[in-house]
Amino acid sequence: MVMAEQLIDGRVIEACQQGDRDAFQLLFETYKDKVFSIAVYSSDGDRTIADDITQQIFLKLFTAIRQFRGDSEFTTWLYRLVVNACLDERRRRRRLLPWGEMVAMKKPGERKPQEKQYARLEIAEAVQAAIGELKPKFRLPILLKYIEGLSYDEIASVMGCSKGTVASRLNRGHSQLAKRLSHLNNPEVWGD
């Protein structure tokens, strides 16, 4: 929560609360990539769905920001909004889509032969696919940690759970990632 986010201080939030479009655009520019990233990873890599989720989050933010009283950090409040929106969207899709289609969406891209030397980009793609296979309760702490750079305390606050639960879920998420991508546990793959 540094750099551009430090620009979002009380004055900017107050201006947003009073309907200032420029202030809101500043807020949007500051957080759009982070919000979009979480939306993409939460929608199994589907960028069209992620576009919709991101728009919905900022629309909701624009109206809900009037209720923001500063009881918590603004970012905690925002990420809570993001997490809830992603979970809501997932629930909605689960109701709409037949099971087979959900599973099919979880496997974007083609599997590459294990013998192939993975470039970093390919590793990143494999990780993105594997992230999509994690349950939301393991996936979201990972996204908040690695995309948003939040501390365990901050993740706990966003997710409304204890720091110990965050540690435990991250642990299980990391383990599951490692198991799913164990073929990448090879120095040659990483060019080390």
């Binding site: 309907g19 629309l59 995309i147 540690a167 198991k179």
Partner: protein, 400 residues
């Protein structure tokens, strides 16, 4: 501490790697890990998971998003029940204030964006004199960020916290740089001077690059000195350290040393209580370019060797070929006869199974001295027993 030592620590692995445990908790975690094979296996798994998760890129939102969002916002604004009071307040003054706000925010943003992102850093404490980070003298404490140099002169010393896994004393007239700090790798570069490291972490998390080799920590305490010619000397006081270069590797236990030379890499590990004649001959074997000199020196090493010097002989054996390999085998076997099933012929062709069997007998002889300063002896013994790949490295040391 006892409770932590007995209790498995698998649930704390991510928190440890992310620096979310206190210094004391980290130390206890590492001590348990060194002794517990089960937790160590899990640690390797979680560490891989972390390494993978770190590859997750932040994506860029598409440019069209704002243009699509803006009309929706306008629609919402017009339907909003409460008119904005902002524009009701002397519009011209308000507009000017907004412009000023946006402009100042913009300038600040550009200023911040132009600066490098905040880098991870380690705490540095002044021990004596006036050590410098970059060109800045540190008074009592400072921070050493990735890429920054810490320099001491003839009257200054400093101590660096290696994340949460240990600390390093930087002695006088030394120059070090922080190259990397992340959950699966902490790396310093020592280009001049001397440092003393005390690390309570699982093997191969802490590395020190020198001009002639890399010191890889195996949960230990050691001193490392880089001389003016780029060569270095390692003294291990607890645990093990591997000195590595592209072509050579020496595994150095407590009580032993290893010298390195630029362009050659690490020499052979030797116990510091070896005779001067043994050490002098070993230096020639390791670094003299003249084959004849090396031949004579090897004969001297074999003559001078004690049973305890099987550490050195094993390293030389694994690097040798032809007649030298046979001489070294015979000397080793005279000190420590191979166990049943291990034959001379098999060992001369480095049969993997036989090599492991003999190493099982040899290795305990190298680990009985000098340990226990940083970790409890029980922990150190357990570590040596489980070895965690160390035997494999001793077995697989690349031939010269």
């Amino acid at each position: 501490m006892i409770r932590m030592f007995l209790r498995h620590v698998t649930k704390d692995i991510s928190a440890y790697c992310h620096g979310e445990l206190s210094s004391e908790e980290s130390k206890q975690f590492a001590e348990h890990l060194i002794a517990c094979a089960k937790c160590r296996t899990k640690f390797e798994e979680v560490k891989l998971g972390i390494k993978l998760a770190e590859q997750l890129p932040r994506l860029s939102a598409p440019d069209h998003l704002w243009s699509e969002l803006e009309p929706l916002l306008a629609k919402q604004t017009t339907s909003a029940a409460r008119p904005s009071v902002f524009w009701m307040w002397q519009s011209q003054v308000a507009a000017a204030a907004v412009l000023l706000l946006i402009a100042s925010v913009g300038v600040f943003w550009i200023y911040k964006s132009s600066r490098a992102p905040q880098k991870p850093s380690w705490l540095v404490r002044r021990l004596d004199g006036a050590p410098k980070i970059g060109s800045e003298q540190i008074s009592n404490n400072g921070r050493l960020a990735i890429g920054e140099w810490l320099e001491t002169d003839g009257s200054s010393r400093a101590q660096i916290d290696v994340a949460t896994i240990g600390n390093v004393d930087i002695e006088e007239n030394s120059r070090v740089r922080l190259l990397q700090t992340r959950p699966d790798e902490h790396r310093l570069e020592l280009v001049r001077g001397k440092m003393s490291a005390r690390i309570w972490a699982p093997p191969r998390l802490f590395f020190v690059d020198t001009p002639s080799a890399v010191a890889a920590d195996y949960g230990c305490a050691y001193t490392l000195e880089v001389k003016d010619d780029g060569g270095s000397v390692l003294h291990v006081t607890s645990g093990w350290v591997a000195m590595e270069s592209k072509d050579r590797e020496s595994i150095v236990p407590a009580g032993a040393s290893c010298e390195t030379r630029p362009g050659v890499g690490p020499g052979t590990a030797y116990y510091e209580d070896a005779s001067p004649a043994f050490r002098e001959a070993l230096t020639k074997v390791d670094f003299n370019p003249d084959v004849a000199v090396r031949e004579t020196a090897l004969a001297s090493v074999l003559d001078q060797a004690r049973p305890r010097d099987t550490l050195t002989l094993w390293h030389l054996f694994r690097r040798s070929d032809g007649a030298d390999r046979e001489r070294l085998y015979d000397k080793l076997a005279s000190f420590v006869p191979p166990p049943p099933g291990v034959t001379r012929e098999g060992m001369l062709r480095f049969d993997e199974k036989m090599t492991s069997q003999w190493l099982d007998v040899l290795e305990p002889m190298w680990t009985g001295n000098g340990g226990g300063k940083m970790v409890p002896k029980k922990v150190a013994d357990a570590y040596f027993r489980v070895r965690n790949g160390l035997s494999r490295r001793l077995k697989d040391m690349a031939p010269k």
